[in-house]
Structure formats: C-alpha cells, structure tokens
Symmetry: C2
Subunit: 453 residues, 2 copies
C-alpha cells in the first residue's frame, strides 16, 4: 500500500525551500568565480489595499533561516539528482552564513520602500536567502497588520475586548496556521486556538466547544450538563446550535442548577450584534463572538451596540482576506567591484528600486510619528534610526526580543501613528521621504546606467 | 544569545496542529464516557467568488494526517502543562485511527454542499481530525482550482503554453509554498520553482535567473555571457533589467556569438503583451512571461496577441488572490445512539447542514457533466458515484494515485464541465440537486429538532 506523504519541511529539507534559480545562480557565482560582496534589501514597493501601515513580524523566523542555513546529505543528494555539479555541492555542504544582517524590530510600522531587512554577504550566500526571508517576513507582517487593525478598532470603540485567533483550519497550510497565531499575538491578539502554536511559541491557547459536541447528545441540555461536568467554571458554552437566545437561557439555567459561574457563552451565527443584545437581556454571561469576524465586523458590532467580552476572528485574520498579499521583494542594492561597494538598481518599467544600503529615520513630535526619511546607511539624518544590526560577520550581535516585548512594541508604535493613518478604510497616506543623498545617488546611477544602455 | 525558533511542525508537534477545543471536547468525550460512533462530513457551503467549480486536491496529505495520527512524549508533555488529565493523556498516547474514510479523488470538480471527505469513527477520533483535514484539503483545493482556471484559458485561447509556479516567496508560510506547488501541478501546471516541492512530491522544478545576477556584473553583456558559460543551452535569460527589447537583442547576439541555442528569455515587467511582440520582432527566442500573471492576465495577453512559450504565475496563484479563502467545514452529520446511527444537523441561521452520510452522483451526457445529485449514502441513484472508500476500520483499502494520475484526472474532469461553468468571470451555476431521500430526511429531522427546542 502506498504511503501518503505529509510533505512538511524538516531540518533536512528546509534549505530546499528556495527557488531553483537561486541555486542555479549560486552555482554560476561559484563556478564562474564571481562571488562579490553584495547588499540585498527586503521591502515592499507599496502598501496593500486599504492599509495605511504594515506592522512587521517574523524576524525571528527569518533570523533562524539565516543562522541555521545548512545543506545536509538529503538536500545535497536531491540537488545532485537535479544535475548540480559535485564541486559546487561540496561547497554548498560546507556553506554557512558569514555576512551581516540589519533589520527592523518586530512590531514596527513600516511603509512602502522602507527596508525591513538588509543582508550584506558574499552574493552566493545573500542570493540564497531571498525566497525564505520574503516568505517568512511577508506573511507574518500581513497577519500582524490585520491583527493590529482589529485591536485598533477595539481601542477606539470597545472596552478592551479579547481577541483570539480561531483561523487555523482556514490558513493556507500548517505553517501559516502557526505563524498566524504568532503574528496575531505580536499585532495585539490575546491568544490562539492553535495548540501547536502554543507549544512552539508560547502563545496563550484558548478553546471553547463545537456544534458537534451539542449535536452528539440527544438534547442540548444533556450536552451542556456533560460539558460543565467536565470543564466546570472554565466552560464557554456554544449556544447557537438550535436557537441562540433559547441556548443562552439554557446555559444560564444549567450553570445555575450546577452552582457554577461559567466563563461565558459563544455566539457563532446570525445577526451577531442583535443576538448579543438579546442574549444580554436573558442572561448575564460573558459573550464571545465568532463567525466572519474582522475589523469591519467589529466596527459594525460596536456601531450597533453589540455586547461582547471577546472576539474570535478566523479566516479573515489568517488569510488577510481583504488584502491577501504583500509583495515583498529582495533586491540587490550594492555590489563590490574593485574592492569597493557600488550601488546597483534596475530600470524595469514600474519596478525601479533605490540603490545602496539604507537606514530608515522616523520623526516623532509630541509622541506621534509625523514622517519618515529613507536615507543612505552612511548618511546622518534626524529622527530615530529604525534599522538595527542583528548579525555581523555571521555572529548574532543582538538578542531577539521575547514575543511579549514585540507585542508591547507593536502596541506602542501603532498607537504612535496618528489616527488618520490607522483608518481601516481609506487611510491617509503617511509621509515617507527620500533623503537628498539617496535621491542624488539614485539619479546619478540612473544616468550612468542609461548612458551605458 | 537567544536561539531563534523556526517553528516548523515536526512529527512530534504535528498532532498539536489542532484547535484546543478539539482536545477539550475529546477529554470530555473520554472522561464522560460519551464516545459514540459518528460521521463527520467535510464540504464548503458555497463556491468562492468568481468560481464556477473547485478542483479537489490535498487528499494525500489529509490521509497522511489521519493514518499517522500519534501523540508522542513531546505533545503529551505540553498537553499536561496545559492541564489535561493524566488518564486522558494516557488514552491519547495510545490513540490511533480505527474508523472509515470516504473521499473524492484529487482532481475532481466539486460544488457547494458536496462532501469531499467523510469520516466515520468514534467521535473522539473523528473530532480531532477537523482542523487538519479542513486545512490541508481547503488550501490545496483553492490552488488547484486557480491553476485549473489558468490552464483552461490556455486550452481555449493559447497554444499549450507551459505554466510554472513561481509563488513560493509570497505564499502564506512554507507549507503553503510546497503545497501550492503540488496543488498547482494537480490543477494543470507543468512544474514549480520550489526545490523542496520537487524533493518532497516529485513535482518538476524549473528556474531561470534573477535581476540580481544581471546587476551584479558591470554590464548586462558580461552577465549574459557568464550565465551562458555556466548553463549553456539550458539558459533562460532575464532581459528586462534595463531595457527589455535591447535585452532581447543582446541575448540573441550573445547566444549567437557563443554558438548556443538557448531555451529562451524571460520578461518580468512592463506591458507584457506589447513587449513580447516587440521582442518577437527582434529575436526568435522562446519567451517566458512572469509578473502579475493570473487567469485574467493570461486572457488579456492572448486577447492582445502576446507571444509566449510559457507563463510563471506567482503571488496570484499561491494566495488565490481574487478568492483567498474557501470556507471548508467539517460537520457532524450522524451519531450512534442506542446502537443505531441517527442523523444530526444544526439549525444556526444561515449555517444549516444536511444530515446523514452521503454520496455524490454526477450525471454525464455525451461526455459532458450535466448535473449532480447529493443523496444519502444508502440511496441508489443514477450517475457516477464520486465518493470512494479510502480507509476502513483504520486500514487503507485504496491506493493513493500518483500525482500524474491526479493531474490527468483533473484535466479530464475539468474538460468534462461545460464551458459556461468554466468562465473566469461570472460562470454559469452548475446544477446540484438534493435527492428526494435526503430532502425528506432533512425536513423530518428539522421538524423533530424544532419540536424539541
């Protein structure tokens, strides 16, 4: 009988999570003895639809991918099958990262063209990282942002309601499920239903009950009684299997009869603001709201005076449904030639990039961010410098913050953005300027390249 | 120095990819001695936006999750930390799947309310599978469908152009990257750039070169010459770094001078149909087109007489950008009571489900599908029965097909759908009926439940 394949990555196959062209270029860099030092810059060109800012997340996983970079026998064997040469594969099996990495700390608002990560290393090494670092930073940033938007609506209109990620079944694969739980926590969530994310990242885990529990008993009463017998005061009863308001009354009755103060009830269908008010009239239990929850639904819920202690967003969070992509790119911005770093850029239509290693400076006035300046790394400019060295010569030079620290940072830095940039529809664009030095360098290089072409 | 965490699942943590409530219910089923045999049905209620059909994929990974279900010491330790009881955890550490699984083969068009997978097992086991089987079937189905739509446009308007997945950097995490490569292949792609997907699933891998290669040389000519020196006739040169048409001329010149017939050139920016025609006028090289490719862009490309040998869709494929979610659910449809299976359903507003284990029958006329009937599993109805037993009493009873077989099936079954259902905008709804038997059983149960409430 054939064995099915899970197809999860393992430490043996993880280095193969890359595009074939990276490895083909690496082999060519190696065999053709063209391995100059190079700087790559990871950024996105523009904010996704409806986004006034993005909140960075995923640096820890990007750093892991860089530090643990290692091709073992299984990876080498497969590359040999694909036709890669023995001499290159020997080099690859000894490869480790020896370069520098600068990065924005997780939980930092970031805008178009601002580097989130810069890698300076022999080009062969820097090239390899492209696929995995874009992948890990891009997705977590997408989810942290979505989470931050929901937390922001609650900060504005709510009363500190809890937010718990219920999205794992609808995430794009398992890695997304656990990374969404992590990134949502950074962005301001309180926890996740995903147990693996709890184990791997220490994200607090929460759980209630499903309709199947209720349906598996002859009566809703028997279902509630049995669940309470097991879980006692920890229980959150799901009340919409048959009739939400009747379910609420029953939940309150059963809890009363058993002498338990349960944690609350969950509503998962129907007109949630209206039902939550109806439930509030028949019982005093805390209400947790799920089904189709996102920042727009939460705003509508508050606008219509819904009553809730917490929300459980799922699909919309983990797929970032209204903006499911952020087009992170990882571009060569400088390369060594004759012993010096030279700027580089492409001129492709609509895809022009700024050359040189950079810094991002953020200007604050009265505790509010008023604008950023993207400058050359060697320029000295006013404002807080956001990019920090993380790895130098292959050695880590900064501790990675705990998830709590990143979460606190995200919360503070998000709040420092003036409210108009945080609107969930039609946010006001935040001012990002290019420094005079970078502008000049870009124009100069463009003229050079056009003259050559 | 703190160690960063990759946070990949491993065989030790994979069983924890579930929602906490599944485990809390399982403990309650176990401790409260309520572990009846139950049937769960996995389906989606409606087709996502713009979709006239979905193409199933991911069954192999769902079967793996079911067959390999096993809680080792690391998982048990964590659950103990979370407060699960010792007696339940002992039971869990011995748990293996002993039930039945019926499923639609990969590569089958599927519509709203049609079961893709049905699990019949002690409820404790069936419950646990919910999160992982929805996750694995849902995402791969989303991508196989997106892929099928692109292949369909080429079948209609093109000339057998190749389709290669270039999306790994923008997929939602790494699992999505490799599963997208697999699912796209099922849906009609020719391969992927993702090397790990090649290793894990034998999907053919392809790669060209990046702008960074070109930029890392003092001139585009030097970059092309060096790449050709390494890769010879296998080479596809990227020609849009500075000026696409000039790049095409240079590519042709360099290949000529070196006496090589290279595989072609890649265009990655600008007005692609127009540029491809301009390139075609200056050289005879095969053209591979990337950047923003999806079914709509391919249609537009053909409508405008673009010239291409192949396309490399990326972000739009792996995030299914225009329809990034399919809301798979896994519902309890029958449960054993007093030694017999009883139907079950919920009445939640807008979320009513059909009870009972089911079959899906597909009616074919002159090689074209004309409609489906969803019936009770025990009903005998005309048309091809699509759901097949895969596991019985915990043992596999059917070989899983190779990826090639699933791909061929998808291609054939997609083509059997009349064209109006395959339109990429505004597809005509396909007829899905509920059998008289299922309709009667549903009404009867609804009356019973409403009488009880």
């Amino acid at each position: 009988m054939t064995q099915p394949t899970a197809g999860y990555l393992s430490p043996e196959t993880a280095p193969l999570f890359t595009d074939l062209y990276e490895l083909r270029m690496m082999q060519a860099y190696y065999n053709q003895e063209h391995n100059p030092r190079a700087t790559f810059s990871l950024f996105f060109r523009e904010l996704p639809t409806k986004r006034g800012y993005m909140l960075t997340a995923g640096l820890e996983q990007a750093v892991h991918a860089i530090e643990q970079l290692s091709f073992g026998p299984r990876a080498i064997d497969y590359l040999s099958e694909l036709g890669f040469g023995e001499r290159f594969l020997e080099h690859l099996s000894d490869l480790e990262f020896t370069g520098d990495v600068w990065a924005l700390p997780e939980g930092t608002p970031v805008f178009g063209n601002e580097p989130m990560l810069e890698v300076t290393a022999p080009i062969l090494q820097g090239q390899l990282l492209e696929t995995i670092v874009i992948n890990q930073l891009g997705y977590q940033t997408l989810v942290a942002t979505k989470a931050g938007r929901m937390r922001d609506v609650i900060d504005r209109q709510g009363d500190g309601q809890s937010l718990v990620d219920f999205g794992s079944r609808r995430s794009h694969g398992t890695d997304a499920g656990i990374k969404a739980a992590r990134a949502a926590y950074v962005g301001g969530f309180d926890g996740t239903s995903n147990v693996a994310a709890g184990e791997l990242f220490d994200v607090p885990v929460f759980g209630t009950m499903a309709h199947s529990w209720v349906q598996s008993f002859a009566t809703e009463r028997a279902a509630f009684e049995t669940y309470l017998a097991e879980h006692g005061e920890e229980t959150i009863l799901l009340i919409d299997t048959y009739d939400t308001v009747a379910g609420a009354e029953l939940a309150a009755d059963v809890a009363d009869e058993m002498g338990l103060e349960i944690r609350g009830v969950r509503l998962d269908s129907g007109d949630l603001p209206a039902l939550s008010k109806a439930v509030d009239e028949v019982c005093e239990l805390d209400q947790y709201i799920s089904s189709g929850i996102d920042e727009y639904a939460i705003r509508d819920f508050f606008d219509r005076d819904g009553v809730a202690t917490g929300f459980g967003p799922g699909t919309a969070l983990v797929t970032s449904t209204d903006a499911p992509k952020v087009e992170g790119v990882y571009k060569l911005v400088a390369v060594e030639r004759d012993g010096e770093m030279h700027p580089t850029m492409k001129l492709s239509t609509g895809k022009v990039t700024y050359p040189h290693a950079k810094r991002v400076h953020r200007i604050e006035e009265n505790g509010q961010y008023v604008g950023d300046v993207i400058g050359l790394r060697v320029e000295s400019l006013p404002g807080e410098n956001l990019l920090e060295p993380v790895i130098e010569d292959g050695e880590r030079v900064a501790d990675l913050p705990s998830l709590e620290t990143s979460r606190d940072r995200a919360n503070e830095r998000r709040s420092n953005l003036p409210a108009p940039h945080r609107r969930i529809d039609d946010p006001e664009p935040y001012a990002v300027e290019i420094s005079d030095g970078l502008e000049r360098a870009t124009e100069e290089l463009r003229r050079d390249l056009e003259a050559k072409a």
